[in-house]
Subunit: 224 residues, 2 copies
DNA sequence: GCAGATTATGACAGCTGCTGACATTCGGCA
DNA sequence: TGCCGAATGTCAGCAGCTGTCATAATCTGC
């Protein structure tokens, strides 16, 4: 995240995670995983924070020092995936048309995370399972939507930076980010509602289908 | 809401509101108004349900019989406006292109509600004030976004019905409704963030500006 | 290695949102 | 008037979340 310092010596300083830092990451991961399992088995509402905390052998107070509320621990996995998408978007070639860059980034993000599944800790299947829980849990859906709109602000900035525009004067980044976000959400909804092919590839297919319908949907008349 | 029964005699039965019904509507309105005033003066989080209830001289338990949670009373005014929009959309001529029907409906809804302001109980200015509170209160924003997505499902159905399509097979209604919803939200955000001309007309202007940028935003390259 | 400064954690206590259960009162209707 | 059902009040209780303080673990400089 932080820009690499140009000085060689002090640059190495932030490379040592330290025991304290490692332990923190460890309990955080444990909390996410325990919460995830409990949510899947008994549902979000019927899982108390105390259960999650004691499953990791931690006090409830400590849980709330890691996550501001119960929603946050559920959305943590999704948040990682979204961060990765932003990273993909930043790396797209500058000549690419904006809409196409967005489409390519989201497809690439799902694919990469899907491929990393075997080697990594299977965070992708977690994210997909979570998506189902989110859609059917009103409180979670609300929290997720808010997160998504915050992510949209980031997309606006990246788009504006790409094209060298001032997003407060030119509405195109704002509008495109909004359209993109809504398209994604519609795709997620389709994927969870219909019995779509599971896994990242199924999701990619659904997203592509929705993108393909963007032009036709905005066309003047539908009866042709 | 309920379709008018074709039989003349029983039709008259549902025309008498009755004292009980009137009182219910009365306390409901009082709760909404009291809550609104308290939210505006001290903020949403710093207002307890007990305060709202005792301001109307009602038990806390009764409050929760009218509203499922604290969010709902805050979003009640917005909900009315959204219902009116759906009504407007239903009444648009069938020949109109879908996107244009949506645009005309939302503009008409804001205008009508704005004009009714003087005669009515000023629910429009309430809705606009609420919009500001919603945007700056995370919990409310989340709840509002969820409501909006539910409203989007209605829009999908109306659009599909207009064109005689099956929304589970043709993605165009879903995509268009999603795009429309996100466009509206972007407009709301602009309106609350920037110092836009206040009042319904200012909102209408912002919405129109965003609609006008839809084509350019989706165009291939932005650098002309 | 060892003191002392930082920092994470635990252990309370407490408020608020929200719900179930039961008693009570009030409006509708014969 | 008098009965029935709906609306309300009261009470008890759980769960999410926060402030506060003491304790234990890490990190830092020596």
């Amino acid at each position: 995240m932080a820009a690499r310092t140009p000085h060689p010596a002090p640059a190495a300083a932030d490379r040592a995670p330290g025991l304290r830092e490692r332990k923190k990451q460890q309990t955080r991961d444990a909390l996410v995983q325990a919460a995830h399992m409990l949510f899947l088995s008994q549902g979000f509402a019927r899982t108390t924070v105390d259960e999650i905390a004691s499953a990791v052998d931690v006090s409830q107070r400590t849980f709330f020092r890691y996550f501001a509320n119960k929603d946050e621990v559920a959305l943590a996995v999704m948040a990682d995936a979204e961060d990765y998408f932003i990273e993909c978007l930043r790396l797209r070639p500058a000549e690419e048309p904006p809409l196409q860059a967005l489409r390519a980034s989201i497809v690439q993000a799902w694919r990469d995370l899907g491929n990393a599944q075997a080697g990594g800790h299977g965070s992708i299947s977690s994210a997909l399972e979570l998506l189902r829980i989110i859609e059917e849990t009103p409180a979670l859906l609300a929290a997720h939507l808010r997160r998504v709109t915050e992510q949209e602000r980031l997309v606006v900035q990246v788009l504006a930076a790409r094209e060298g525009l001032d997003p407060t004067r030119d509405l195109r980044p704002v509008v495109l980010a909004a359209v993109f976000g809504s398209l994604l959400r519609a795709a997620h909804l389709s994927w969870t509602a219909e019995q779509e092919p599971a896994g990242p590839e199924g999701m990619v297919a659904v997203i592509e289908r929705h993108f393909d319908q963007l032009g036709p949907a905005l066309a003047g008349h539908w009866r042709a």
